[in-house]
Amino acid sequence: MSTSPVISVQALRKSYADLEAVKGIDFEVSAGEVFGILGPNGAGKTTTVEILEGLRPRTGGNAMVLGFDPERQKQQLKDRIGVCLQATNLPAKIRTHEAIDLFGSFYSRSLTSEQLLKRLQLWDKRDSFYETLSGGQKQRLAIALGLVNDPQLLFLDEPTTGLDPQIRLEIHGLIEELKSEKRTVVLTTHYIEEAERLCDRVAIMDEGRIVAMGSPRELQQKSRGQSRIQIVCEQPLNAIQLPQWPEAMDSKLEPDGRSLTVYSNRPARTLFEIMRWLDQQGIQLEDVHLKRPTLEDVFVELTGKKLRD
């Protein structure tokens, strides 16, 4: 790719007294990409993005964001990026439109509160005090504040943590919109499904290091974990000798005789062969499921721990 990366990080380190939170990480983020940083609490995700946002000095290494050094050119950088912090608050008695107008005044360019409130579906709440908003509305307002300077690069630090599933889906929809507008998004999360659904590429962090990086699909393919093919037939298979399907590692027939589970490294190939065999045998198929290894499987495999540890 000829275009220079929006974010470029080399050997980045950060220490707090005797704790080394980030232990020398490297990555690049291209324009228009949704880049996820996935990891459990304490993995160093927030420290990494806060260094890139110009909020914390680094202990070592290099970082460039939109061509600015986040430590030395903080003001210029902050004017160009959007940030949605993990734990933040606004005064209880500020109205939503006032908050957007106030934050808009801090930037050299800004969108109007009407544009943003309509876009974030908060127009009906434009005169509501911050303290009266629901959790989801507060988060939408936080994203609106992150977009107030119409940034091309947006940092979203665990934007859905603590929200109920329905609101999480709404926020996912918003992030997909940002993606379709070709904005670059850096998203930290410890929700696997969020990273799988939204991110073009994911860096998995653990104990201050990037332990794997790539598209969710690449990471899944790198996993030793096998896909699971599950079929349910209309008649029992007990009396039939099951063949050894290509690439299948193992198979298991459930006690009912109708449900068969096959583990495979190349599920598409194996599934095709199973279908062909069923057809040859004249066995009617009732249901079929294919489950690929998830990022969670990859994470557990790489770190030996669960994401929500």
Partner: protein, 283 residues
């Protein structure tokens, strides 16, 4: 400039929506004014109403500075409100200036109101140098808000801020002559009183009102220096996040704001001019 204006406008709106701000800036000093006006028989003597008026103004300024500026700034940090500002391109300057201006704009109507009440209800003659008086009171307000902001900058949490505020607030309340008449102080307390910033505020207001004197130059110099030192320090020591702790020794910076008054107190004592402060009750 637009960030300054937007912050001032927002701060004013927020202040007007908070009952606690209305209570401490208007109702509480008014209650003090009427209660002590009655206790000291302020209707019968001009000096008494001036005494009560000064007490009410000083209480208002101290409350506005220590609680309105100081404690509020710590609360905003503790509640992660300042953290949100940290990711924007603004520096602490517009936040601190907006705090100053808002405190002043909220307090001035009270000052005008209390003078009108003293004039109409207690027959206090309208001060000859009212403009100078307003200037002096405004300067006092800015100085004590600066001190409040420095306390906010060196306190790591609400508990520490509470202790530091009380350590400054109570001596200023009781040893400045604002509440307890200074002529009842024993000599050593009167010496201590010379080192307390609020003493210069109380004496300055009384001198302008009772003696019709011009602005007290030494007090003004001390207040201006303290205000400037306080603002510079609160900018330098400003912290956006509660996780950013400051070392314990940083609390000594409070002394830097108090230094002009320590020098002035030493000078007054050296000159032998620690005569009884301006008051009615000793005469």
């Amino acid at each position: 400039m637009k960030s300054y204006l937007a912050l001032i406008t927002t701060d004013l709106k927020l202040a007007a929506r908070l009952r606690v701000v209305i209570f401490f800036n208007y109702l509480f000093p008014l209650m003090i004014f009427f209660i002590f006006g009655s206790v000291f028989g302020a209707r019968k003597s001009v000096d008494s109403i001036i005494y009560v008026l000064t007490m009410s103004i000083t209480l208002g300024i101290l409350g506005n500075g220590f609680f309105g500026a100081g404690i509020r700034a710590v609360q905003e940090r503790e509640m992660n409100i300042l953290r949100r500002y940290k990711v924007t391109p603004i520096s602490p300057a517009p936040l601190l200036v907006a705090s100053m201006v808002t405190g002043w704009v909220i307090f001035m109507p009270y000052i005008i109101l209390v003078f009108i009440l003293a004039h109409t209800l207690y027959h206090m003659p309208w001060p000859a140098h009212f403009g100078q008086l307003l200037f002096f009171i405004s300067l006092g307000l800015i100085t004590f808000r600066s001190l409040g902001l420095v306390i906010a900058s060196v306190a790591n949490n609400m508990q520490e801020a509470g202790i530091l505020v009380q350590l400054c607030y109570f001596p200023m309340l009781f040893l400045s002559g604002a509440t307890v008449p200074s002529e009842v102080f024993p000599h050593f307390v009167r010496v201590i009183s010379e080192f307390i910033p609020a003493t210069y505020l109380v004496n300055g207001v009384r001198e302008i009102m009772m003696k019709g004197q011009q602005l007290p130059v030494e007090s003004i110099v001390a207040l201006v220096i303290a205000a400037i030192v306080g603002l510079i320090l609160s900018m330098k020591l400003f912290r956006w996040e509660k996780e950013e702790k400051i070392r314990t020794s940083a609390k000594l910076w409070i002394l830097a704001v108090l230094l002009p008054f320590l020098v002035l107190g030493a000078w007054e004592i050296h000159k032998g001019q620690d005569k009884p402060p301006v008051s009615t009750f000793g005469r």
